[in-house]
């Protein structure tokens, strides 16, 4: 069997699922198509990861699609997040329907057409994210990242409220401008490589070709290119000061979409950044890119602090937490050294597993309170929601990097990288900011979860929602104490790629 066929399968499955869901007429059919597709996708992703671990990189169509360990890790995480979200989405939208969220729902027509939009756009969205990871050509990668924006705009405006249209507009516009900068950066990279490679064929932008010649690239151009790429893909990742779309989009989108934006799109944008970071480091040495990454990383963590402290909405606080974690990851990459990239990718992995859990908990609470404001709880939601409450608290502890949860380990690795490469001041500042965010976040969520009984009706949450919650929570507990060997192997290999070794 051709090893490249798995790449083809990974891209074909979500495309087919999108088309089938679009043609489906009943809700159950659409749910089944999505669930089956994402289970199959996760299977293929695991297969790809094992192939990459055994045989190095896998490629197809003359290297048009290629997967090294870094791509395989991204595909694995994307597939995992997509599956978790699709399980949760079943319960979430069923409850939405019971709550009569979809307007003018007389004959069920509006509900079905809204659901069809969700169930057919989501696989396309996932397809675009997978293409980002698998495209060898940096231009195609840009096209795919832009496609993630386009596929998700109508997912963000899903509810059709004035506020959700506002959020979608800001998302599309800020994303569009940001990505145009990234395209400029890509063009300049192509230009700086142009003289060395002297090819006008497709291979001229293939990362696997570029990375072997990066040392001879034109230096001034590459410098400008990296700045533009950082601004561009940084906008997509929601790095401060280009983060302003993030809280709006995360709080207005349906919860499964928000979880995918936070846990999978963030990875895609950072993945694009890593690819260019490697080229820049090879061309200009580590100093230049590192400094920029450290500045933007610290800025992101710093910007998140005040907004976490005075936050009124438990959906928006998750967005600021995501800005904070994007910053931490960028800092890890910027610290460099042997540990920096490893810390970043560990953090990215743990974040992709923990963040959806928090969004799911927030979604449960929001659907129960019919609001995303803390003050509407009027007491501890642990009383009406005995499953969601404790898990929300546990997720908060996990995401803020409290031991024994695994994010403590990755943050610790990043800090060690910082001290190890003599970035004393940024590392100390990072510790202070992280502690502040920990306090703010925990106080808010503890107030929401614990406290006197608000005398709200007890709900028995839909079992699909409970499945995904308990499944993710137990995975996080397991990961806190035991990271499977092959997964760690994959992350370490990926860190080697990201570190430019």
């Amino acid at each position: 069997m051709n090893p490249g066929i798995v790449l083809f399968a990974i891209l074909a499955i979500p495309l087919a699922a999108g088309a089938l869901s679009f043609a489906a007429r009943r809700r159950r059919t659409m749910e089944a198509i999505n669930l089956c597709a994402f289970v199959a996708l996760l299977g293929c992703a695991v297969l790809l990861a094992s192939q990459v671990l055994h045989a190095g990189s896998v490629s197809m169509w003359n290297g048009f699609l290629a997967a090294d360990s870094l791509s395989a890790l991204m595909v694995l995480l994307t597939a995992f997040v997509a599956l978790a979200c699709s399980v949760y989405a079943v319960g979430y939208f069923r409850e939405d329907e019971q709550n009569h969220v979809f307007e003018a729902d007389v004959l069920g027509a509006v509900t079905i057409s809204s659901l069809r939009r969700y169930y057919s756009l989501t696989p396309l969205f996932v397809f675009a994210m997978l293409l980002v990871a698998l495209a060898n050509n940096l231009g195609v990668m840009w096209v795919a990242i832009e496609a993630t924006t386009l596929a998700s705009v109508f997912l963000i405006s899903f509810y059709g409220r004035a506020t959700s249209i506002e959020a979608a507009w800001k998302y599309a516009m800020i994303g569009g401008v940001g990505l145009s900068m990234a395209l400029f950066g890509t063009i300049l990279t192509y230009y700086s490589a142009h003289r060395v490679l002297e090819t006008e064929t497709l291979a001229g932008l293939n990362w696997s070709v570029l990375v072997t010649n990066a040392a001879q690239f034109e230096k001034t151009t590459m410098r400008l290119a990296f700045i533009l790429i950082l601004l561009g893909y940084g906008t997509k990742a929601g790095i401060a000061p280009m983060h302003t779309w993030k809280p709006d989009a995360y709080s207005e989108a349906p919860v499964p979409v928000a979880a995918m934006l936070a846990a999978a799109v963030l990875n895609c944008a950072l993945y694009g950044l890593i690819r260019f970071y490697v080229l820049t480091t090879k061309c200009l040495g580590p100093q230049f890119a590192s400094q920029l990454l450290i500045v933007f990383g610290l800025l992101s963590v710093g910007v998140a602090v005040p907004f976490v402290l005075v936050q009124r909405s438990f959906r928006r606080i998750l967005a600021y937490s995501s800005i904070d974690h994007g910053g931490i990851m960028i800092l890890g990459l910027g610290f460099g050294g042997a540990l920096g990239a490893l810390g970043m990718l560990l953090h990215l992995t743990y974040h992709s597993i923990t963040k959806p859990l928090l969004f799911f908990c927030a979604g449960n609470v929001e659907q129960h309170l019919k609001s995303d404001l803390f003050r509407r709880a009027k007491g501890g939601i642990i009383h009406p929601m005995p499953v969601t409450g404790p898990i929300f608290l546990m997720g908060t502890l996990a995401i803020t990097g409290t031991p024994p949860f695994s994010m403590f380990q990755s943050e610790f690795t990043i800090l060690r990288a910082g001290f190890g490469t003599a970035h004393l001041f940024p590392a100390v500042l990072l510790i202070i900011l992280l502690v502040t965010i920990f306090i703010g976040f925990l106080v808010h969520i503890a107030k929401l979860v614990l406290g006197a009984d608000p005398e709200l009706p007890r709900v028995d949450a839909c079992r699909w929602k409970t499945y995904s919650l308990i499944g993710l929570a137990s995975l996080i507990l397991v990961l806190a104490f035991w990271l499977p060997g092959p997964l760690f192997q994959l992350i370490r290999e990926a860190a080697r790629v990201a570190g430019g070794q």
Binding site: N137, L150, W169, V177, H194, E200, D248, E252
Partner: protein, 233 residues
């Protein structure tokens, strides 16, 4: 007719057309009427297709013909028609009402053009063009790259200062025009498949944004994006 083979002649034509592209961009800044603005954008895209054709002819880069053809059909014909229909359909007030008044905007555009030239100058290396026997990329790049960077910056400026949602879409498109110009003047365009992908994205983007503009108009009864300010903190 030997000058039809002379790269120097091609170079001059390209520079001339690039200058017109810049003039049209600044005209867009100064223009107060929505439909006129869409037509100016169409003319600009038409010139851009001309530049791509010229480069393809004089520098023997046949894949640029395809890019030129796509630019012409998409950006100069299809998208302007779609946008004009959108304007007619939602029947909005024609005047743009920018945040900054026109004379000041023009002055700022002039300043941004200077910045564009300064940025482009850092790419200019005369010694390399002397050594190359025929027209090198760098030589072709200098003037057109300056125009491209200016288009990019002015497009950026327009996005910030225009309040009508549809004007922001137009500004984004003209910004994209700047990128296309940069790509063809620096490297004779991107590889074909990337170019096709970019055009596809552009087409989808305009459809998505068009629908969104329509929804904004329906929901807020206005196209003024400064009314989109409920989400804070």
């Amino acid at each position: 007719m030997h000058f039809f083979q002379d790269p120097q002649f091609g170079n001059r034509i390209i520079t001339l057309m690039a200058a017109f592209v810049l003039v049209l961009q600044i005209a867009m800044v100064g223009q107060r009427w929505l439909v006129t603005n869409i037509r100016v954008f169409a003319a600009q895209s038409f010139l851009l297709a001309g530049i791509a054709n010229t480069i393809a002819y004089f520098n023997h880069a046949p894949h640029l013909y395809i890019a030129a053809f796509l630019t012409f059909t998409l950006k100069a014909v299809a998208l302007p028609i779609v946008l004009e229909r959108l304007v007619k359909r939602i029947d909005i007030g024609q005047e743009i009402a920018p945040l900054v008044n026109v004379p000041l905007s023009l002055l700022i555009s002039g300043g941004l053009t200077t910045v564009g030239y300064v940025v482009a100058a850092s790419f200019h290396r005369p010694e390399e063009t002397m050594s190359a026997a025929n027209l090198s990329v760098a030589n072709l790049g200098h003037n057109t790259l300056a125009v491209a960077v200016s288009l990019f910056l002015i497009g950026f400026y327009m996005m910030i200062t225009r309040r009508k949602a549809i004007m922001q879409v137009l500004a984004l498109l003209s910004l994209e025009n700047g990128l296309f110009l940069a790509a063809i003047s620096l490297t004779y365009g991107m590889p074909l498949i990337v170019e096709l992908g970019i055009f596809f994205d552009l087409l989808v983007a305009v459809m998505v944004l068009g629908i969104l503009v329509y929804r904004i108009q329906e929901t807020f009864d206005s196209m003024d994006v400064s009314k989109l300010s409920r989400l804070r903190g």
